[in-house]
C-alpha cells in the first residue's frame, strides 16, 4: 500500500469535513417542522385562547331576519346557532343560516376590489386597490352629477332592511336620482298586492300558525322558505304538540308535494291555478251563500281543481269547526298568472272563517324600505330604460337578477348596454360578472347593521347586527362604501353623509330611537341601552298594529289553464329549501346537503309522476330535454310519486354561469326558460305559469342521492300491511 502523502491527507480531511456537514444538514432537514406558538402583540378585550365567546347578531342568509349567535374562538367564527332571546328564531336556525360561515371563509370570496379584464359576462377580473376602485367609481358618478345627469344613475339592491336602507336613501338624494330599487326574487309580491286589496295596506300580517288548530296552506311551503321558515318550523311544532293543547290539523293544497306538504295530514294535489277557486268555495260554504260569494260554488271549484266536491266540503267543515283556523297562500298559488287573485281569495277565506291573523305594528326602523321594494313591473321598466339608453351608470348590490330574471326579459342585454356598471358583491356571480368594477363588501358576520324583521311576529322588534370577527380580507362594509363614495362626489353630498363609518351612522340612528323613549327605558343612559341591545341581540316593545279591516271583495281567479298541444305539462320551479333563490348554491355545505324529499346532492333534476314516467318510458336518471316556448334545458328525471301527472317540478338554485368553484356550470336553471308571463293583477313574475314539453335525449346519469331505495325491501319499516306482513310498497310496482 502506498504511503499517504500530505496532499492525500488534506484531501481526506476535506472529504471527512464535507461529509460531516452534509450528515448534519440531512438530519436537520429531516426533522419535523416545529410548531410555533404565536401570542398577540396586545391581547384584545375578552380574548382567551381555548375559551369560546358567543356574540349575538342577525342572520343575512335570507330576509327573515333571524337573531343568531356565533361562537368565536381565537378570533375565528366556529359555529352559528339561533339566538334564544330573539322572537323570530327563538334559539333555532336553519341549514342555510348555519352556512353563513361558508360565506365568511369562502375560498372564492373576492379579497380586494376587482376591475374587469375580459368581455362583460366573461368573469375575468384583475384586483385593484380600494383607492383606484373608489376613484374610478366616484369620478364617473361625479361627472354624471355635474352634467346634471344624476337621475341617469340607477341603484339596484337586494332586500336592504333597517337603517342601511336610510343610508342608501340619503346617498340617492345626494346623487339626485330616484332610481333606487330593491329586488328580491323570493319577495312575496303577490301576497303584498293581495293584502293591499283586502286590508288596504301593503304589509304582511303575522300568520299565527303556532296558535292555530287548523292550518290550510295553499302552496305555501312555510317549513322551507315561505316568509320566515325557522319561525314557522317552531310554530308548526307548537301547532302539532304544544303543551296543554289539542293537536292541530294541517292540510296542504299544491300540485307538487313540498316539505310542508309532506308534513301535513292531507296533501291535495289540486290543478295549478285553481287554489283561489277552492278557497272561495270554502268561504262561500262557510258564509252560506251570502257575502257576494255565491258564484263560487263547490262544484265549480271541484271541476276546476280536479278534487272531489266532498273533499272541498270537508275542508269547509274543518275550517268552521276549528277554534282558530288559518289559511295561508304562497309558492305556486301566488306565482301563477292569477297569483294575486288566489291570495285575495285566501284573505277572504280568513276574513269569513275567522283566520288567526295578527296585525303587525309598523316596523321601528327601515319602515320606508317598503317604498323601494321593486315589483317585477319596476324591474321591467328598469330593463326598458337601460335598453333605451336612459341609464348611464348602474350600481348593483347584493342581488343576482341575471340569474333570477328569466332570459326572456332581456336583462343581460340591457345591462350590457349600460356604459358603466358597478357591482358591490363578495363573489363573481352571474350579475357581478357583467360589472366593470366590483367593490367587495364585508360579509354579514363582519359588518354593522340593524334589522326589523319582515314580516314581524306581532310585536315591535328590532335587532342590531354587530361584527363578530375582524374582517378576513381587504373588504369594506356596505355602509362605509356608500359613505366614502358620497364624500368623493362633492361637498353637497358629503354634508348629507356626516358620519365617518357605518358604526357612527348606526349609533346616531339608535340614539334617536333611544331619545324617543328615554323616559320609558328604566332610566338607562344611551350607552347602557346600546350595550343591552347588543348583548341581547334584539330589542322589542309591546305595540299593537292597527286592526286588519277588510276593505274590499274578491278578485275573480278565473279558470285555470289546462296545458295542451305542444307544451302539455305545467312547469313548476320551486324555491329549494337548501339554496333559497339560488344564493346558497356556492356554499359547499349546502351543495352536499341532500334535498329533504328526493335525497339528491350536487345536481339539478326534474320530478315526474310515476304514471307519466311509465308512459314516456323514463327511469330515474334518464336525461330529458324540457322545452318551453322560450327555451330549453336538460336535466335528469327523478320519479317522484307526490307530483301531479300533468306537472313537471324542478328545484331553483343550480345552473349558475358564474358563482365560484362549487356552483359554476353545475346543473340547470329552470328560471332561464320561463315564458314572460306575469301575474295579471300585481305584475309579479308568474314563475309557475309556464307550460313545457319533455322528451328523452337518450342519455343517463347516475344521480348522487343518499336515499338508496324508496322500497322497504321486506324490512317492514312502515308496519305490516295485512296478513303475512307483506308491505304496501312491495305489493306496488309504482313506488306506492
Amino acid at each position: 500500500m502506498s504511503a499517504i502523502d500530505r496532499r492525500d491527507f488534506l484531501k481526506l480531511v476535506g472529504a471527512g469535513t464535507a461529509g460531516a456537514g452534509a450528515g448534519f444538514l440531512v438530519k436537520e432537514s429531516s426533522r419535523d417542522r416545529r410548531e410555533q406558538y404565536i401570542p398577540y402583540v396586545a391581547t384584545p378585550e375578552d380574548y382567551a385562547p381555548g375559551i369560546a365567546t358567543w356574540y349575538k347578531t342577525v342572520c343575512r342568509q335570507c330576509n327573515a331576519g333571524c337573531g343568531i349567535q356565533v361562537r368565536i374562538r381565537e378570533g375565528r367564527a366556529k359555529k352559528i346557532e339561533g339566538n334564544a332571546m330573539h322572537p323570530v328564531s327563538q334559539g333555532r336556525s336553519c341549514a342555510l343560516g348555519q352556512s353563513g360561515l361558508n360565506v365568511l371563509y369562502h375560498p372564492d370570496r373576492l379579497r380586494t376590489p376587482q376591475q374587469r379584464r375580459g368581455d362583460r359576462g366573461s368573469g375575468s377580473f384583475a384586483p385593484i386597490s380600494w383607492e383606484q376602485a373608489y376613484t374610478s367609481v366616484a369620478e364617473r358618478l361625479a361627472s354624471l352629477r355635474r352634467a346634471g345627469k344624476g337621475e341617469r344613475i340607477a341603484v339596484l339592491t337586494g332586500t336592504v332592511q333597517g337603517h342601511m336602507h336610510d343610508l342608501l336613501e340619503i346617498f340617492m338624494r345626494g346623487l339626485g336620482s330616484e332610481r333606487y330599487l330593491q329586488y328580491d326574487f323570493s319577495s312575496p309580491e303577490s301576497l303584498l298586492a293581495a293584502n293591499k286589496t283586502t286590508y288596504g295596506r301593503e304589509e304582511l300580517p303575522y300568520y299565527d300558525i303556532a296558535n292555530a288548530d287548523f292550518l290550510l296552506s295553499f302552496g305555501a311551503d312555510y317549513l322551507s322558505h315561505w316568509l320566515s321558515p325557522v319561525h314557522h318550523g317552531m310554530a308548526y311544532g307548537n301547532l302539532r304538540q304544544g303543551a296543554g293543547r289539542k293537536r292541530g290539523d294541517v292540510v296542504q293544497v299544491e300540485a307538487r308535494m313540498s316539505l310542508s306538504g309532506a308534513n301535513a295530514d292531507k296533501w291535495l294535489p289540486a290543478r295549478p291555478g285553481s287554489e283561489g277557486l277552492i278557497a272561495l268555495a270554502i268561504a262561500n260554504k262557510i258564509a252560506g251563500g251570502s257575502g257576494g260569494l255565491s258564484a263560487y260554488t263547490v262544484a265549480r271549484a271541484a271541476s276546476a281543481s280536479g278534487l272531489t266536491a266532498e273533499t272541498i266540503e270537508e275542508l269547509a267543515v274543518a275550517f268552521t269547526t276549528a277554534d282558530k283556523p288559518l289559511a295561508i297562500a304562497g309558492g305556486p298559488a301566488t306565482h301563477s298568472s292569477n297569483g294575486t287573485a288566489n291570495a285575495v281569495a285566501v284573505n277572504v277565506l280568513n276574513a269569513v272563517g275567522g283566520g288567526a291573523l295578527v296585525a303587525n305594528p309598523s316596523p321601528v326602523i327601515g319602515a320606508s324600505a317598503t317604498n323601494r321594494r321593486a315589483g317585477f313591473a319596476d324591474i321591467r321598466k328598469l330593463i326598458a330604460d337601460m335598453s333605451a339608453g336612459s341609464i348611464d351608470a348602474l350600481i348593483i348590490a347584493d342581488t343576482n337578477p341575471v340569474f333570477s330574471v328569466p332570459d326572456q326579459f332581456g336583462l343581460r342585454a340591457a345591462i350590457e348596454s349600460v356604459p358603466f356598471v358597478t357591482a358591490i358583491s363578495p363573489f363573481v356571480d352571474d350579475t357581478s360578472a357583467m360589472a366593470d368594477i366590483i367593490l367587495t363588501p364585508h360579509s354579514a358576520l363582519e359588518s354593522w347593521g340593524d334589522d326589523a324583521p319582515q314580516p314581524g311576529v306581532g310585536l315591535s322588534t328590532a335587532s342590531i347586527a354587530q361584527p363578530v370577527v375582524a374582517p378576513v380580507h381587504d373588504t369594506r362594509a356596505l355602509g362605509d362604501i356608500i359613505i366614502e363614495l358620497g364624500r368623493r362626489l362633492d361637498n353637497n353630498v358629503a354634508t348629507t353623509l356626516p358620519w365617518d363609518t357605518t358604526y357612527d351612522f348606526l349609533r346616531a340612528q339608535w340614539r334617536k330611537i333611544y331619545d324617543a323613549r328615554a323616559g320609558s327605558l328604566d332610566g338607562m343612559n344611551f350607552e347602557e341601552f346600546w350595550n343591552s341591545v347588543l348583548q341581547a341581540g334584539v330589542w322589542a316593545e309591546e305595540r299593537k298594529g292597527p286592526a286588519l279591516a277588510v276593505t274590499s271583495g274578491v278578485i275573480d281567479p278565473g279558470t285555470p289553464v289546462i296545458p295542451d298541444g305542444e307544451f302539455s305539462f305545467h312547469f313548476q320551479p320551486y324555491i329549494s329549501p337548501i339554496f333559497a333563490d339560488g344564493r346558497g348554491a356556492n356554499l359547499p355545505w349546502q351543495q352536499e346537503l341532500p334535498d329533504p324529499l328526493t335525497g339528491v346532492v350536487y345536481n339539478s333534476w326534474i320530478e315526474l309522476n310515476p304514471a307519466t314516467a311509465k308512459e314516456m318510458k323514463l327511469k330515474d336518471g334518464d336525461v330529458v330535454e324540457v322545452s318551453s316556448a322560450s327555451g330549453s334545458l336538460r336535466a335528469p328525471v327523478i320519479i317522484y310519486p307526490a307530483v301531479r301527472p300533468d306537472v313537471v317540478a324542478m328545484p331553483i338554485g343550480q345552473g349558475h354561469q358564474h358563482y365560484g368553484r362549487y356552483a359554476s356550470k353545475r346543473g340547470a336553471n329552470p328560471l332561464a326558460i320561463l315564458n314572460d308571463t306575469v301575474d295579471r293583477d300585481s305584475g309579479a313574475l308568474a314563475w309557475c305559469a309556464t307550460t313545457v314539453s319533455i322528451k328523452s335525449v337518450g342519455e343517463r346519469v347516475a344521480l348522487i342521492r343518499n336515499s338508496g331505495t324508496p322500497r322497504e325491501l321486506g324490512r317492514s319499516i312502515l308496519g305490516p300491511y295485512g296478513e303475512g306482513g307483506k308491505t304496501r310498497h312491495e305489493s306496488d310496482d309504482d313506488h306506492g
Partner: protein
C-alpha cells in the same frame, strides 16, 4: 489470482479512502445533530430565561400563563405584557434580549415562540382540568424555574399519561373518550 485483483484495485485505493472519509464524516455529522442538537430544547427567538423570572424573581407561573386554570390552553403572554413589566425595569432596558422584545413591540410583531410541548390534534388536553385537580405545573413540565432554555422533560406518550391517571385514580381517566374526543 488474488494478486491480480489487488493489483487491479490498487489504483482505486486513494479514491476509496476519500469515499470512506465522506461516509464516516456523514455518519458522525448525523449522529452529532441527532444527539446534541435535540428537539427537546429548541432555540427560541428570544433567550427568555424561566430561571430569572420564576426562580430569582419569584413570579408565579400563572402571572404570565394566565389562562391555565380556566382554559384548555395555558396561554403565552402578549408582547404588551412583557413590555408592561420591562418598562418599569431600567436596569435591563438596554440588555440585548430585551432590545429584541422592544424590537417586536415597536414593529407590532408577535414573538414567534417555538412550541416545546406539542400534542397531536387528536388529543384533547385541557390545562384547566389538571390545575383544578391540583397537579403541579412541574409534574409535567419539570423544574422550569431552573431552566434558562426550556427543555422538554416528559415524553407526552399515551402510556405516560395513563400511568399518572392510574396512580391518581382519575375518574374515567382510562376511557378513550376522555382524551380522544
Amino acid at each position: 489470482m488474488s494478486v491480480s485483483v489487488l493489483a487491479a484495485l490498487r489504483t482505486f485505493k486513494k479514491h476509496a479512502l476519500i469515499v470512506l472519509a465522506v461516509i464516516v464524516g456523514f455518519t458522525v455529522g448525523h449522529l452529532v445533530n441527532a444527539n446534541f442538537y435535540s428537539d427537546d430544547a429548541p432555540v427560541q427567538p428570544i433567550e427568555f430565561s424561566h430561571r430569572i423570572h420564576a426562580a430569582e424573581n419569584e413570579i408565579p407561573c400563572m402571572h404570565c400563563h394566565v389562562h391555565a386554570a380556566t382554559s384548555i390552553n395555558a396561554g403565552v403572554p402578549s408582547v404588551n405584557k412583557c413590555m408592561n413589566c420591562h418598562r418599569a425595569m431600567p436596569g435591563v432596558w438596554e440588555s440585548p434580549e430585551i432590545l429584541k422584545v422592544r424590537g417586536y413591540w415597536e414593529r407590532s410583531e408577535p414573538i414567534p415562540w417555538v412550541k416545546v410541548y406539542d400534542l397531536p390534534d387528536f388529543v384533547y388536553f385541557p390545562h384547566k382540568r389538571h390545575i383544578q385537580a391540583e397537579v403541579e405545573c412541574q409534574s409535567c413540565h419539570g423544574d422550569v424555574q431552573e431552566m434558562d432554555r426550556v427543555e422538554k422533560v416528559s415524553p407526552l406518550k399515551m402510556q405516560w399519561c395513563l400511568d399518572c391517571h392510574k396512580t391518581r385514580e382519575v375518574e374515567n381517566g382510562r376511557d378513550c373518550w376522555t382524551c380522544h374526543k
